[in-house]
């Protein structure tokens, strides 16, 4: 049995218990620790999750205040040691503002998660979308390896989810697939080019960005909110929608499409 998965609870996050349940659903042990009481636990953690929500109420810019917290020093060191680190939504924003991902130049903030850019609307967007595996290898997307072009339905909910860089060098890296672990796609599996398939205008349709080691993932969608069959709306269609339609009451608690990210973590820690 591997060690515990540490879930760091910053003030204002709201997905820590869902993340813990998803971890436990794949047979891992996890614990939630507050950001100012987590330093020791980070050093011992088998893996680290920065959950979704609004750390510090998204004041100034989503994720930036948490990124300056001392506990992130230890998270950065852990990520450099190869410890799996998953940032979901607000956690992804923290990882980007810390520079842990993509980490092309050590310690530099290469990207931003900017406000959504959507046709005909502004602000927060909450829906199910499709993603598929990107070209970069990442331990959290290991479950997608067999069918990399299969669209995976997954929920998202954010106002600032547009991966964007102003650097030509970084853009060239991303264009060649470096760091691009998960991309938004259509229901047919084509890389998304516009809203709503690309729900925020992210450059290169990036939904998840990893570091060079493939052990840290900044993921804007919420796999923990789609980790059980009952969470999948019927309108999603495809394999997952059909299986949701067909299951009996007991099977509603079988695995949903987001479970794979946590299954991959379990396999990596085995």
């Amino acid at each position: 049995m591997p060690g515990r998965v540490l879930i760091i609870q910053f003030p204002g996050v709201n997905c820590e218990y869902e993340s813990l349940r998803a971890i436990e659903a794949v047979g891992l042990k996890g614990e939630i620790r507050r950001w100012n009481d987590a330093a020791g636990a980070v050093k011992k953690a088998a893996a680290i999750i920065l959950p979704g929500g609004w750390s510090y109420q998204d004041r100034i810019r989503a994720g930036v205040v948490a990124a300056k917290d001392a506990v992130l020093d230890d998270v950065m060191t852990a990520a450099e040691r190869g410890v799996p680190v998953l940032g979901i939504c607000n956690g992804a924003q923290v990882l980007v503002e810390t520079g842990i991902v993509p980490g092309f130049d050590h310690g530099r903030i290469d990207l931003a998660l900017a406000p959504n850019r959507m046709e005909g609307r502004v602000g927060y967007y909450c829906n199910w979308v499709y993603v598929k595996k990107g070209p970069a290898r990442c331990l959290f997307t290991d479950f997608m390896e067999e069918r990399p072009d299969d669209p995976l339905p997954i929920p998202l909910a954010h106002g600032e989810g547009r991966f964007v860089t102003a650097s030509e060098t970084v853009r060239a890296h991303l264009a060649s697939g470096d760091g691009v672990a998960v991309v938004y796609c259509t229901a047919g599996g084509e890389t998304a080019t516009k809203f709503p398939d690309n729900p925020n205008g992210a450059q290169f349709a990036i939904a998840g960005l990893t570091n060079a080691g493939g052990n840290a993932l900044a993921l804007m969608p919420h796999p923990e909110r789609g980790a059980w069959a009952f969470q999948v709306p019927r309108r999603v269609g495809g394999t997952w929608g059909r299986s949701r339609d067909g299951v009996g009451a007991r099977d509603l608690f079988s695995a949903g499409p987001g479970r794979g990210f946590f299954e991959s973590l379990r396999r990596a820690l085995a």
Partner: protein, 233 residues
């Protein structure tokens, strides 16, 4: 044809928690405690208005429109300062910029130098002694996002509303600037050093550098506004 240049600052009447969080992060997490004396945050809108009607009519309509809708502010929690200028005239609504700077100065100086005793009677004698020694400069930082959609929406809405309100031909509103403005009171020996400190506080290039803007999607304009009087009287 009347052409009016309007600059609107909107701030909170009560405590601004985002500004407080920024100040605490800069002082306690990023080590700017010896240089950052104070920080205020405003929303800034730069509007240009072209109309056939006289300037006084248009500016009256503008202030009525601002007061009646929530695009810019909520009168229960916000204050605003509006400065309109046109050929041969100007109109200021709310506190002037000089008044805002003076109010800001009165809030400064409590963290400088030696330890100050807790001030239960509200007189703050110790604070005045300390701030007299400080040399503070005000730097205004305009942080703007890369997205013009919000500005276009504001301009379109104001164009419709002002045209209806003025009632003397069409009114055309543009919104060339919309930014978050950070007023930074920086302790520095001179203006150049203060500007450099403001840049260090603002631009996030690495985790331990800058807080207020991410250059991957935002731009920042720095304006030096000279010394700020921090002495409490």
């Amino acid at each position: 044809m009347t052409r009016i240049d309007a600059r609107l600052l909107v701030g909170l009447r009560g405590p601004d928690l985002a500004a407080s969080t920024a100040r605490l992060a800069l002082i306690e997490k990023m080590g700017f405690g010896d240089r950052l004396l104070g920080l205020r945050r405003y929303d800034f809108f730069h509007l240009t208005i072209e109309a056939a009607a006289p300037a006084a009519t248009v500016t009256d309509a503008l202030t009525r429109t601002l007061a009646a809708q929530s695009t810019f502010y909520n009168r229960n929690k916000h204050m605003y300062s509006l400065a309109c200028r046109w050929d041969g005239g100007e109109k200021v609504e709310g506190p002037t910029r000089a008044e805002l700077v003076a109010r800001f100065g009165q809030t400064l100086g409590t963290r400088v130098g030696t330890q100050v005793g807790i001030d239960f009677d509200g007189k703050g004698e110790g604070k005045a002694d300390i701030v007299k020694e400080s040399s503070a400069f005000l730097v205004e930082v305009f942080v703007q996002d890369d997205d013009s959609a919000g500005r276009d929406a504001i301009a379109a809405k104001l164009t419709r509303e002002l045209t209806a309100s003025v009632g003397q031909g069409s009114v055309k509103v543009l919104c060339p600037g919309r930014a978050t403005v950070w007023w930074l009171a920086v302790r520095a020996a001179d203006e150049t050093t203060a500007m450099e400190t403001a840049r260090q506080i603002t631009v996030t290039r690495r985790r331990d550098e800058g807080l207020l803007m991410n250059p991957n999607y935002q731009t920042a304009e720095f304006v030096s506004a000279g010394r700020v009087d921090t002495v409490r009287s």
